[in-house]
Structure formats: structure tokens, C-alpha cells
Amino acid sequence: MCLAIPAKLIRCEGDDGVVDLHGMQLPVNLQLTPGVRPGQWLLIHAGFSIETIDRADAVKTFALVKDLQDASCAGNGVQP
């Protein structure tokens, strides 16, 4: 019932963060994942981060989005 997508936190100030989703930068509310730091991967639902995930898993989920796309290509635009 709930769409959620993995994205990387690139900056944050208090509960307000900005994540990078394949070159797209969107503001997210971080209050459901207190203590997260830039560089961490988050699961985003309706403008909120709902959980942290590790990068390897994030890339795996990306790869599944388009099955034939290889993991390195899915990571493009997201600097480690």
C-alpha cells in the first residue's frame, strides 16, 4: 500500500534533510529517523524518511527497479 524509495541523504539541518535520488534532490522530513547523517541511505515515503538502509541494499533495490540495469549504472549520479 505504500510506495517507498531508497535515496541518499546529502545534507540535513534538524529534521529537514535533502536526499539525492539519482540526481534528483528532494527535501525530506527526518524526524522518523533521528540521528541520521549525510551519506546514509534512507527509505522515503510521502516526504518522510521511514528507515535507514545500507548502501549495498539500496543499490540492490535500484537494480531490481529495472531488472537488466546493472548495479553500477543504478548508482550513477550518486557519489559515494
Binding site: 522530513n29 510521502a46 531490481l64 527497479v65 537488466l68
Partner: protein, 397 residues
């Protein structure tokens, strides 16, 4: 002359000169499908698994899952689409709120076309109501800061979505906003699963296990499913939403069913922890408390809803705007209730595909893009034959 083009990422640049003879699985899923086939053949009897998440419904239909599953394995859709399980009375109340003067009604895009007993939010907007689609509950709060009009945020959804509403209410309190309120029908999935299993109507499906919703589980944690496993001897496998993840979760469920075991497994460990998201749970507990709630098709289920606590009652649109509770009656002839509880397949509904279509929906299972009826109509190649032969009873022995 053959040009060796440099293609953009994501583009296969296929150059074939003849069409293939039929659909073919990608290499990455071949192994999993073969494994599922092997287990299913070994078990021999028919197995029905239920997902309780609209995103699972959509993903399964969009990848044509039914056509690649072994003949004796079936995935049925339970009460997991938040729009579909919302009672007619609640939907009517939201539409009535939109029609009030000097009100801006904000909601998620999912709600715009849901039919009430008279019209929808879309038709309210056509008739002049100020209805706005927001992507985040916080946008509604921001809007309330910039206007003197009353802003009502209408939301439905399970535990994944409810924390965002709670956060919006907290923010409105912090900002001392007296023109912001919420009109919610948030629901909890576990009480619904319990109700489905314990008060099963005679024609309810036999469920051999649950494909548990990945993103609800992110919030509530894996442990929340233990009572289902323990008390009802049903396996729960928490699964992700991509087709290969669904196939692997189903393989696991079939394996467990074959061994006559009931277990709780987490196939989405990258995001789901045993305890869930404690910060989100705490926020939910601060703002909401569990209460009985009416579900379309399932009736009133104890502890299955979330209502605002007394401390936050000022932000309850029902109270602030003295909204009356409309009578609950479901559209005549519509069997959405039975579809949601898994007791009937959409094809058994006399309205399906004729009177009720995605363009002119009668019941919410057709209008919600993740509703089972909508998925049937949109994606099943044989929807043109409404009596397509299999109903939910058939494999239930």
C-alpha cells in the same frame, strides 16, 4: 552500414530483425521461478497465499505474476489497499468536508477520484471546492501557515502513512496553527488480519500463509506478526515489492506450507527490523490511540483504527468543523467488501467491467489504482471475458 551507437544508460538499444515467439523471463528470475515450480510440484495440492498490501497487488498484476506462477499456487489480495478498505461513510465525510465554505481540503493523489455515495473529490473540485493534492502531509501544514482559510488534511493509510499525519499534527501544534486539522481514517493491519482469520465468513478463502507488507513492517517491525503465526498457525513472510522479491517470498511460503510449518520470515531485512521503527511508533503513540474502526467489507474491527488522542482533539476536523457522520451504505450491487476480504474475485461481481470500470468506478476497488478490481480490469489479458473461470472458491478445498 552499422553504426555502433553510444546509448544512454537504461537503454538496451535492441536491434533485432524478427520478433520473439513468446514472453521470456530475465535470467535473474529464472532460477527462482524454477525453484518455486519444483516446490509446487512436490507439494501437489493447491495453495493460496494472501498479500495485504496494495503495492504488492499492483506489482503482482503489473508483472503478470499469475501467468508465471505454478498452476497450484495463487496469490490473492486481502484488505491491503487503504482506499478500498475505507468505509463509504468516511469517504462521504471527506467529500462533504471539501464542500464546506472557506475550506481548503488537502489530500494525497490517491484519494481524488474515490467515489462516495454522491460524487468524489474530483467532482467536488469541478463544482468549485478547493481540493489540493499534496505529496507530503507537511505541505498541508505549510499551506495553513500561508492562509487564513481552514486547511483540512484528509488521509487514509496504514502504519506507514500514519506517522506523517502525526508529524503534521505535532508541527501544527508547535506552530500554534488554529486553521489546520486532520480528517483521517488510518488503520492498523494486524487487527484486520486477525479479524479475517478468526471471524472468517463461510465463504472466506483458505489462506495458507501471508505475504506481509514490507513498508508497514518497516514501522511495526517483524515481531508484530508473531500472534498471527502463533495463534492461527499461518506463516508470514515479509517481502519487498519488486517482482523477484515477491517470487522469492512466495517460494519461501510454499516451502513452509509443504513442510506444514508456520513461521515468520523477513525477506526484506534491508529495511525491516524486528522491533520496527521506534521513533515512528513513539510518534504514533503520542498523537493517536487505537480504537475500533469500520472497514469496508469487514465491518467494525476492534483496535483496528487510529484516532487522535484527547490532547490533540483540537486538530480533529470532525470536532472542529462539527462534521456529522454520514450513514454507511455501500453502492448497490457492489461486492468490493467481499473482494477486499478475499471472499470473491472481481470477475464474480455483476458490475465488473460493464457498469463498473476505471473510468466510471462504482466501488473503491475499481477506482483506487491499487484496488484489486482495477488491477484485474487493467492488466489481466482476459478481462474481456468477465466469467474467466476462476473464483476464489475454486481452489479452496
Amino acid at each position: 552500414m552499422t553504426r555502433q551507437a553510444v546509448l544512454s544508460p537504461g537503454i538496451t538499444g535492441d536491434r533485432r530483425s524478427a520478433p520473439p515467439t513468446g514472453p521470456y523471463p530475465a535470467d535473474s528470475v529464472k532460477k527462482d521461478l524454477a525453484e518455486l515450480e519444483r516446490i509446487a510440484a512436490h507439494i501437489g495440492r493447491a495453495l493460496s497465499f494472501m498479500e495485504v498490501c496494495g503495492t504488492h497487488t499492483m506489482s503482482a498484476f503489473r508483472c503478470g505474476l499469475a501467468g508465471v506462477l505454478p498452476d497450484n499456487i495463487r496469490l490473492i489480495s486481502g484488505p491491503g489497499c487503504p482506499v478500498c478498505v475505507t468505509s463509504q461513510a468516511d469517504i462521504d465525510q471527506i467529500i462533504a468536508a471539501a464542500h464546506m465554505p472557506d475550506v481548503i481540503l488537502c489530500t494525497y493523489g490517491d484519494m481524488l477520484r474515490v467515489p462516495g455515495s454522491r460524487g468524489s473529490l474530483e467532482s467536488a473540485r469541478m463544482a468549485g471546492a478547493d481540493v489540493r493534492v499534496v505529496y507530503s502531509a507537511m505541505h498541508a501544514v505549510t499551506l495553513a501557515q500561508s492562509t487564513t482559510r481552514q486547511v483540512i488534511f484528509a488521509a487514509v493509510g496504514f502504519e506507514t502513512t500514519a506517522p506523517a499525519t502525526a508529524a503534521a499534527v505535532m508541527a501544527a501544534r508547535r506552530l500554534n496553527l488554529n486553521n489546520f486539522s486532520v480528517l483521517t481514517s488510518h488503520k492498523r493491519i494486524i487487527p484486520a488480519m486477525r479479524a479475517l482469520l478468526s471471524s472468517a465468513p463461510v465463504d472466506a478463502p483458505c489462506v495458507d500463509g501471508f505475504l506481509a507488507p514490507g513498508h508497514v513492517s518497516v514501522i511495526i517491525g517483524t515481531a508484530a506478526y508473531l500472534p498471527i503465526v502463533r495463534d492461527f498457525h499461518k506463516s508470514c513472510v515479509i517481502g519487498g515489492f519488486e517482482p523477484p522479491q515477491i517470487i522469492s517470498a512466495l517460494t519461501q511460503l510454499a516451502q513452509l506450507a509443504g513442510e506444514n510449518k508456520a513461521e515468520l520470515l523477513n525477506h526484506y531485512p534491508e529495511a525491516v527490523r524486528p522491533e520496527g521503527n521506534l521513533a515512528a511508533q513513539q510518534l504514533l503513540n503520542t498523537v493517536f490511540e487505537p480504537a475500533a474502526a469500520r472497514w469496508r467489507g469487514l465491518g467494525v474491527i476492534d483496535q483496528s483504527g487510529l484516532i487522535l488522542r484527547m490532547e490533540y482533539a483540537d486538530f480533529d476536523a470532525r470536532r472542529r468543523h462539527q462534521l456529522c457522520t454520514p450513514e454507511d451504505h455501500e453502492p448497490r450491487g457492489c461486492i468490493c467488501g467481499r473482494v477486499i476480504s478475499g471472499a470473491a474475485a472481481p470477475g464474480e461481481c455483476p458490475l465488473f467491467g460493464s457498469a463498473c470500470t476505471p473510468v466510471n468506478p462504482i466501488g473503491p476497488c475499481m477506482v483506487s489504482s491499487e484496488g484489486t478490481c482495477s488491477a484485474w480490469f487493467k492488466y489481466l489479458p482476459n478481462h474481456v471475458h468477465p466469467n474467466r473461470g476462476w473464483s476464489n472458491q475454486e481452489v479452496c478445498t
